[in-house]
Symmetry: D2
Subunit: 185 residues, 4 copies
C-alpha cells in the first residue's frame, strides 16, 4: 500500500561511526525497534535535555533488543563540531550507544540523513518499528513517560508481527517478554 510505503524510514547516510565495530543500516536492523536521536554538540537543548534522556533510555532498555542510534546532524558551525570533537564528547559523556556522523552534502548546510527524514532541527527523535516503519517522529524533547511508553509499545510488537505488518496473524507471546527486561535504575 502506498500509505505504508510512505512511512517506511529512509536509510541512514553516515560518513563515520563511533561506538560500533561495524557500520549500521536500518535495513540491516529490520526486526528490531530503533530509537534514532539527532543532535548537535553545540545545541543547548541537546546537551541539557536530549542527551540525558538518551542515557536514561540506554539504562532502562539495556536488556531489550531496542537499538539506540545517535546521528550527529550538523547543519551550522560545521568547523566547530568536527568528528574529533564528537569523539571526545562521546568519551566524556560516556554515551555507549552507536553514533554516526550525518554525511555532508556538497552545496548544502543540511546533511543527507537529516534531509531524508525531513528533521526540522535538533534535538529530534524518530522511533522506528520492527518492520522499519516510522512509528513516531518529534522535534524537541518529549516527556519521559510518553517516550518510555512508545518504546515499550514498539518492543511489544513481535518480529513475526512486523514481518507481516498489517496482518492479523501475530503476536502470540507478545506482552510477557519485554516486560521483565525493563529495569529501574
Amino acid at each position: 500500500m502506498i500509505a505504508s510505503e510512505a512511512s517506511l524510514a529512509p536509510e541512514l547516510a553516515i560518513s563515520e561511526w563511533f561506538n560500533t565495530p561495524v557500520p549500521l543500516t536500518l535495513s540491516g536492523l529490520r526486526g528490531r525497534p530503533v530509537f534514532l536521536h539527532s543532535f548537535q554538540l553545540l545545541c543547548p537543548g541537546c546537551m541539557a535535555q536530549a542527551i540525558p534522556q538518551v542515557q536514561r533510555i540506554e539504562r532502562v532498555f539495556a536488556h531489550t533488543d531496542l537499538q539506540i542510534i545517535g546521528i550527529h546532524t550538523v547543519f551550522e558551525h560545521h568547523a566547530a563540531m568536527s568528528p574529533v570533537t564528537l569523539k571526545a564528547f562521546l568519551h566524556e559523556y560516556r554515551l555507549k550507544s552507536p553514533v554516526g556522523v550525518d554525511r555532508a552534502e556538497e552545496g548544502s548546510d543540511v546533511p543527507v540523513t537529516m534531509q531524508r527524514f525531513r528533521l526540522r532541527g535538533t534535538p529530534s527523535s524518530v522511533l522506528i518499528g520492527r518492520d522499519g516503519t516510522i512509528l513516531h517522529q518529534a522535534f524537541g524533547v518529549e516527556d519521559d513517560i510518553a517516550v518510555g511508553a512508545r518504546i515499550a509499545m514498539a518492543l511489544s510488537a513481535s518480529p513475526a508481527q512486523s514481518a507481516a505488518a498489517g496482518d492479523d496473524a501475530c503476536a502470540d507471546s507478545v506482552c510477557a517478554s519485554p516486560m521483565p527486561s525493563v529495569v529501574t535504575p
Copy 2:
C-alpha cells in the same frame, strides 16, 4: 496454578472515595490495567515526586483505558491527615483520578489496604494487569521512562489475553491500539 493465584492483587478496603461517583473495586475493574499509588499528605517524597508523577501519568495515558487509583494510606499523624484535609488537597492539586481513604483498622496504625498489599511505606505504587495480577510493585518513586514503559506493556495486553492469562492464544490486534492514544503534553 498456585503461582498465579499468589500474585492476584488483594481487594481494596476504602472508607471514603473522592473523584468518583461510585466506589471502585479491583474485581470490578478486571479487564483494565490499574495504576495504584499509595500516598500520605505529609510525606515529603509523595508531594515532591510521586504526586507530580501521577499527574504526568494522568496526562500521558488520558486516552487509554488505564485506571489510576490513589490510596491515602495514613499510618502516622492520623489526626493531621483527615479526609477534610485530603479533599482540599485534591482540589488544590487538581488531581483528577479517584482517590480512596484506606480503611483504618482498630488497634493498628496501619490501614487495611496497606496491610493487604504489604506496602513498606509511602510513596508506593502497584501496577495491576488486565487479569488482576500484580505486574510490578515499588516503594519509592521510579524513573518516568520505566514507569511509562511498564504501563504501556500492561495496556498492550489485550482483554482477551487477560481472560486467558497464561494461555498462548492471544493478542492479535494488540499493539496497534494503545499506541496512538499515548499523547505528549
Copy 3:
C-alpha cells in the same frame, strides 16, 4: 520622614507558635535581619518550591544572625489546615525555624498578619532589615541567587546602622546602597 515610616514592617499577629520556646515579635528582633515567609500547607507552589528554598536558606545562613520566620497564613480551606496538621508537617519536613499561625480575624477569611503586610497570596516572602524596615517583598518564589544576595546585603548592614533606625541619615545609607541594583529576572 513619612516615606521611611511607611516602610517599617508591621508587627506580627500570631495565635500559636511552633519551633520556638517563646513568642517572637519583630520589634523584639530589631537589630537582626528577618526573612519572613508566608505559606499554606495545601499550596502547591509552597510545598514544591518555597519550603525547599527556606530549607536551603536555613542551611546557608545557619551561622549568621538572620532570623527566619514562617507564617502559616491560611486564607482558604481553614478546616483542612489546622495547627494539628501544621505541627505534623513541621515534624515531617524537618523545618527548624520558628513558624507562627497567622491570627484569624472574625468575619474575614484573610488572617491578620497577611492583611497587615498586604500579601497577595502564598507563597510570599518579606525581607526585613536590621532597622525593622521592609527591604524587599515578593509574591511567588524568586531566584535563589537573588534571594541569597538580598539576604547577604541585609546581613552586611551593621547593627550600628540599625541602632540609628528611624534616623534619616542612616536609613539613606543603609537601604540605598547596592541593594536596589540586585534585581530578580
Copy 4:
C-alpha cells in the same frame, strides 16, 4: 603583610579573548569584584550546571559593577576544544560576559592561568574582591543561594575600602566580617 599578599589573585594569562573589545587584566579591574569561572566545553558538569549558573549570575547582577570572566581552561582533548568551537559555543549559548582562552604552556597539558590559581579541575570558580584578593575559590558548582550571598558581600565592600587594599585596618573590616559566616552546605 605577608598573609595578605599571599591571597592576592594571580594575573590571568590569556591567548585569545571573546565577548570583549579589549583584553582584560585583573590588575586593571582592581576596584571591582570579579567572578571568575573556569570551564571546558566537553565537561558535563560545566555544561549542565556551571554555565547555566553563570547565566543566572549575569542576569541577577547585570546592574552592578561585578565583572564576570570565563576562562576556557582546556587540560585534555585539546584538539577537540579549539577556539573555533569555543566561539560557536558562546554564540549558541548566548553567554554575554567576556571569556578568555587560558594560555597553553609548552610541555604541559595544564594551561597557565589554571596552574597559577592551582585549580583542581573544571568547573571551578574564584571570587575576587575589589582589592584583588581571593575571597573564595571552589571546585565544582556550589549552591545558588551561597553564591549569590558571597557575590553580594563582595559587592557591598566599598571601593574606598578597596583603595586602601593591603592596609591592615581595611582588610580586616572588609573580608573578615560577615563573609566567613556564609557557608555552603
